[in-house]
Amino acid sequence: MGLMFIKREKFSTYVKLVIDECVLIGIDSLVIVTIISTFIGAVTCIQTAYNLVSPLIPDYIISLIVRDMTLLELAPTITALVFAGKVGSNIAGELGTMRITEQVDALEVMGINSASFLALPKILGSLITYPMLVIIAGFLSILGGYVAGTVTQVITPEEYIYGIRADFIEYNVTFALIKSFVFAFLIASISCYKGYYTEGGALEVGKASTVAVTNSCIAVLAADYLLAQLLL
């Protein structure tokens, strides 16, 4: 980690690299995040309605549950697992391939701090774009719940809107964003580490990608538990 901050290149170099990474990491993840979060919201809505059979419980509770589950868990955590699968494996694979094809050595021989040049923009790109993805995922998940709930008539549009506004705790949004920063850092740094220190050949690059995803998912879930204990 310390290697990244010793003798870095010009600031302007990093600005361009970070923007490139934001596009690669963030915008390229948009489609999968959109699909998954919309369907998760829709399924949560339908399954909550299926389980709430008591006539004593008002229907707006369905959208309240969709909202709280989305903000507290689904948007930051499930998206993180998807992010680890897509971006984590991509980062580890890219850096691993660069390592075994001597591209990392080429940077070092040129006098460029390869750890900083390769890993720092990816970590910063993740830190910038992942919280945005979480916000989008949260919005789409609630929207997915609205569409599924109203189309299948398990809840009326008015009740759904009422439910997502009822007893709203603003801190939950802050909590979701805190989680998103922590998860983004964990996924990007673990994947960079595993990719950067790959040794061997093509087989090891594949292994590095797999290990990066596995370790990132475990780290995300462990951090999820810790943050819930500490901040809620």
Binding site: K7, T97, Q103, D105, E108, V109, M110, G111
Partner: protein, 253 residues
């Protein structure tokens, strides 16, 4: 000039280099030769700092690279160009951006000037109209040429080539050898080539260092190598039938 003295390196308990000394002068092609697994590439990596030697010193024009601070090391490295075995071109950049990369990172040249320089070195290595091609679209020989162009684009004082002929057909291999030699003479570079290709040895070996099992057994030029009285070197030089035929002809007078 690059000077190495008493370079030793071991991995775990296995000693790979046993105190290698040598002087590599500018304006001539210096070759480090030997069989596979004899420590050539490790020596080269020790010289450029990709592997830290256990003992010994590497001097670049009397500047101690081995014991230098990070800053000094970085300054020296910026005078080094290196052609890797697989060319090590950046997959995500086209030819032009690959060659321009050292200029982007290490200089403040205006864009037009950088482009002129890139076009000049690409022309110099015999590549034109390939600026926008990606590395995956190039042949092995073209990749090596782009690698050489990237290595010299920053007016490098020192050029390392790690097995520049590996994976190339004999004709392209000779072209690459000649290119390295021409560039060395033209720009007065200190060039070090690691190879086990006898064609390269005979074509461009102004100074040759022969390594055997981590030790320097012989040094000399390509004029002297055929008459060297070192058994291990003779076994290496005359390993293939072509060289054996040369030997037979020489013996016949």
């Amino acid at each position: 000039m690059i000077k190495i003295s008493n370079i030793r390196k071991s991995f775990d308990d296995k000693e790979v280099l046993f105190g290698i000394d040598g002087v590599f002068k500018p304006g001539r092609t210096n070759l480090i030769i030997g069989t596979s697994g004899t420590g050539k590439s490790v020596l080269l990596k020790c010289m450029v700092g990709l592997v830290e030697p256990d003992e010994g010193v590497v001097l670049y024009d009397d500047r101690n690279f081995t014991e230098a601070s990070r800053n000094v090391r970085r300054d020296i490295r910026r005078e080094i160009g290196m052609l890797f075995q697989g060319a090590a071109l950046f997959d995500s950049k086209n030819v032009e951006k690959n060659v321009m990369f050292p200029l982007d990172m290490l200089t403040n040249m205006p864009k037009d000037e950088k482009l002129d320089r890139v076009n000049f070195v690409l022309q110099r290595v015999g590549l034109e109209n390939v600026n926008k091609k990606m590395p995956s679209e190039l042949s092995g020989g073209m990749k090596k040429r782009v690698g050489i162009a990237r290595a010299i684009v920053n007016n490098s004082k020192y050029l390392y080539c790690d097995e520049p002929n590996s994976g190339l057909d004999p004709k392209t291999a000779i072209l690459i050898d000649h290119l390295i030699k021409e560039i060395t003479y033209e720009f007065e570079i200190t060039t070090i080539v690691v190879t086990h290709d006898m064609n390269s040895v005979m074509e461009i070996g102004d100074y040759i260092m022969y390594l055997y099992q981590g030790k320097k057994l012989w040094e000399g030029s390509n004029d002297e190598i055929l008459d060297a009285r070192v058994k291990e070197l003779q076994d290496f030089v005359y390993a293939n039938k072509l060289m054996q035929a040369v030997k037979d002809r020489r013996d016949e007078g």
